[in-house]
Structures are given as C-alpha cells and as structure tokens.
C-alpha cells in the first residue's frame, strides 16, 4: 500500500515540462554512457592493436585458395 501511495505521489507531481526535462537528462546520460563505452573500447583496442601496422599489413600476403 505504501508503495502505491508513493508512486501516485511521484506521478501526480510531474508536470509536462519536468518529464521532458527528465527525458532529456536520460538521453544525455545515455549519450555519456555510450561515449564512455566507446572511449574504453578505443583504449582497449590501443592496448592490443599490433604495432608497426604498416609493415604488418604489408607483410600479410596469402596464396590464393578456393
């Protein structure tokens, strides 16, 4: 019962502006999370990416197969 009351209170108090503001905040937060995820991915790639990429790529030569 207490739960329901709290939810109703929270819901009733919201104005239209405030909820779109929250939406905007959420979107911003999501954007920041994505950016942080990308940053940490790029950092991890940096750690494992082969050094001397130019020479590495140049030397990767295969014989044709099927």
């Amino acid at each position: 019962m207490a739960d329901t009351t709290q939810k109703q209170k929270g819901g009733g108090g919201d104005s239209q502006d405030k909820s779109s503001g929250e939406g905007g905040q959420k979107l911003k937060k999501k954007g920041e999370e994505l950016k942080a995820e990308m940053d940490s991915l790029v950092d991890e790639i940096d750690e494992v990416l082969e050094e001397n990429a130019e020479e590495f790529v140049k030397n990767y030569v295969q014989r044709g197969g099927q």
């Binding site: 790639i45 790529v57 014989r63 044709g64």
Partner: protein, 494 residues
Amino acid sequence: MAVPKVMGTEIEYGITVRNDRDFDPISSCVLLVNAYREDHDAKILWDYDQENPLADARGFQVEGEKYTPNQQENIARNKTLINGARYYVDHAHPEYSCPEVTNVRDLVIHEKAGERIVEISRREAQALLPEGAEMLVYKNNSDRKGNSYGSHENYLMDRRTSFKQIVEHLMPFFVTRQVYSGAGKVGSENRAQPCEYQLAQRSDFYETEVALDTMVKRPIINTRDEPHADREKYRRLHVIVGDANMSEYTIYLRNGATALVLSMIEDGAITRDLTLRDPVRAIKEVSHDPTCKREIQLDRGAKVTAVQLQKEFLDLALTYTASRDVDPITRDVLDKWQHVVEALERDPMELSREIDWVIKKSLIESFMERKGLDWESSQTQMLDLQYHDIRPDKGLYNLLERRGQVERITDDAAITRAIHHPPEDTRAYFRGMCLKRYAPQVFGVNWDSISFAIEDEPIKRILMAEPLKGSKVHVDDLLSTSPTAAELVKNLRA
C-alpha cells in the same frame, strides 16, 4: 517436399608466421593441423576414393586431374576429429569443415568450435617455433592484395529439383544477401572500383555467374556435384559466395535464411521473377555501397535495392511458412531476418551488435574518429585484419564479444562442449563416436563412409549415404553392444 536442410561450413583460414624469413605456408599449415591432439593418436586416412570434385551439376564431367596424395602425405594433411569434423590442409591454408548439423543453432556452435580448435592448435604450434617467431591465424577471406581464400556452405538438397531452377532463383538471393552476411572489408581489390569500405570480403572476386571453378574466375554459383550422400536422392549445394563470419548472429542468419530459400525453391514457392540483368556487376555494386541504397537492375527493367530484394524473399518465406509447421529455430530466423531487413532500410548502422560488416565498420569509425585516421591509414587496415584474429586476447571481434558489445546466439559452454562432442542428430554422431571408441582400428574416413582395418581381414567400408542416419537414436544401442571394432562390424552385418 523439401528435404531436411542438413548443412555444414568449410572455412579456410589465413595463416602467417611473423619474424620467420623462411615462412612457408604449406609447412606451417601441416605444423598447425598436426599440433592438434585428441585422445587417440591413430593415423587415419582421408578416403579420397569417395571424392569427385570434377563432376558438374549441369550434368557432365570436367576433365582434370583428381588429387590423391600418397599415404604419408594424406595422414600428415588430414585429421578427422571426434566431434565429426575434418581439420586439414587445403592448398596453402588450414581448413576446418564442421560436422553435419540439422539446424542453424548447431551450425553456429560447431563453426565457433572450429575457431577454438584452430586456436588451440595455433598455441601448440607456436611452442614449436623458433624464438621470436609468431604464428597468426585469421578467419577472413582476403589479404587485400588480390588473394582470396574461401568460406563455403553446404546444404542438402533434393536431387529432383533441377539445377537450372536452383540457379534461377538463387542468383538474386546470393547477390543481395551480403547486406547481412558480409564480413566487411576496407578498400577494394582484384581490379574492382576503388572504395573506402565495402560489405563483403569476397565480392570483388566473383567473375562469372555459374561455373565449377573455385580458385580462379570464381562463380557466384558453384556447380560442384559431389553429394557425399546417395546421389540418386540428394545433391549437396556447394556455396562459395560467402564470407568467413565472426558474428554468431550473422552466421545464424546467413545459413538460416539460405536454408529457407532452398526449401522454398524445392517446393516451388519462389513465385516472383527476381532475375537480375547483370549479377556479376550487381554483386560488386551492392558490396561497394554501405548505405544499402544503391539500385540494381532486374532483367525485366525495374530497379530495386538489395534490401528490397531481400524483403521480397522474406515476404515469400513468410507466406511459405504460414501454412506449414515451423520449428522454433526457423521461426526465430524469420524474426531476425525481418528485424535486420527493417533496420537496413532505416539505417544499417543500427545493426552494430548483429551484423559483421556493420560491427566492424562501427568499430573502425570510432577508432578513426578518436585517432584522426582515415580509410587509407595502416592502422585502419590493421583493425580490419585484426577483427578476424582468432586469438581470444588479440582478436577485435573477440574483444567486442568479451565486452558484451555483440549479440550472441549460443554460449561458451555449448561451444566448448562441441570441441569434443559430435552433433547427435546426423551421421556425424556415428563418425565421431567411432573415432572416440575404435580409433586404432579406423582405417579411413570420408563424409559418407568410414572404414575399418581389423587384424588381417580385408578393409571393411561402412557406407553412410543417408546424412540423417547414424544419429544417436539410431546407433547408441549398436555402439553400446559393440565394445570392439570387430564386434561393431560383426553387429552391422548381422
């Protein structure tokens, strides 16, 4: 009535040894394949008597020499595994042919188990190399210098369906499925138009529509007619127009949609004329357009995008399955096919967790943006190559998987299990169990036979012309009442 779509894949891996001036691909492949150890150390032949890669599905035999290695070379180059797979040296590449499976979930599991097996053997082989030398293996299809190696799919088909019908309906499907089955590639090669990034690794290499060749002048549809099963009843469609995919989701959809379309061809359910005017040109145009908006021309004059053509096939598939009992995996394939086609229509980059070429493009673009690189940069090209590195710690696809940034179809436990266990519902079960139980007496193996050398008796060859027979249900009693190979052969005769 369509026959069950028993299927499998054959992947040729790229291989190199760094810091080894004497690097020779063939001896490195032999080292790699032989570094893989199973419980037994029996020397088992691959049975080339059963092979005929020169038979053409259009009804003739092509002249040429059949490859038959001597016994020692045969054993050095071929390993048949207890999971029912064949791991071997094909020309200058290590190749893994997964065991026959009946559904795309098992296909993903067994293709992925193949990657793990190659990686296990790479680590073992690495320990035998001189200090400083490093063996690297890539699950891709091109060195970006005009050399390509294959990744083939095989599907069981009804012999009664004419090859002409297969070609007619399959061509537009094969030209356009790369919008979700491509593994992505930076740049172009083989005298194709220049581009920054394209959908598929192999599309620059198709030079003709239909042919038997696989190594030169590659065709979109390959005519090899080697059923590895009862040739009165079946064909094995040998598909060479595909990429080596890293993404489980992509592998699942690639084989799932293809299997569905093949069943529809068998049942006469492709009722629209989707013939393309110039498939060889179109396959390159589609590959070179990551926006997926470019139109290609139908023979009847209209222009459509590859995604629209895939939508046509999907619509036909939805109609086809609406009146049939459809298993849950096929239902799931249809859902995923729909999800992917709709996303491709809106914005292909939405599929950066599902589809290989998008996953790779998204990864490369993030890196380029933060590092100020362009498509010509060596580091960009390195990212492309390293996406396919099979090492768990260095491979970039594997890195994304570990970070939970790609959709999965299965899990590590199922993949690990498939390293040691054959699928239970095809003849691969019998093959694998025979190797597990009777390896010292196994003389030779092929997809549709296994032969035994028991003391000084003549070699006994057991034929397995039905891909669905030899399953656990069929042979577990036989195996459990046959503690030795001699008893197995005796019980089979009884």
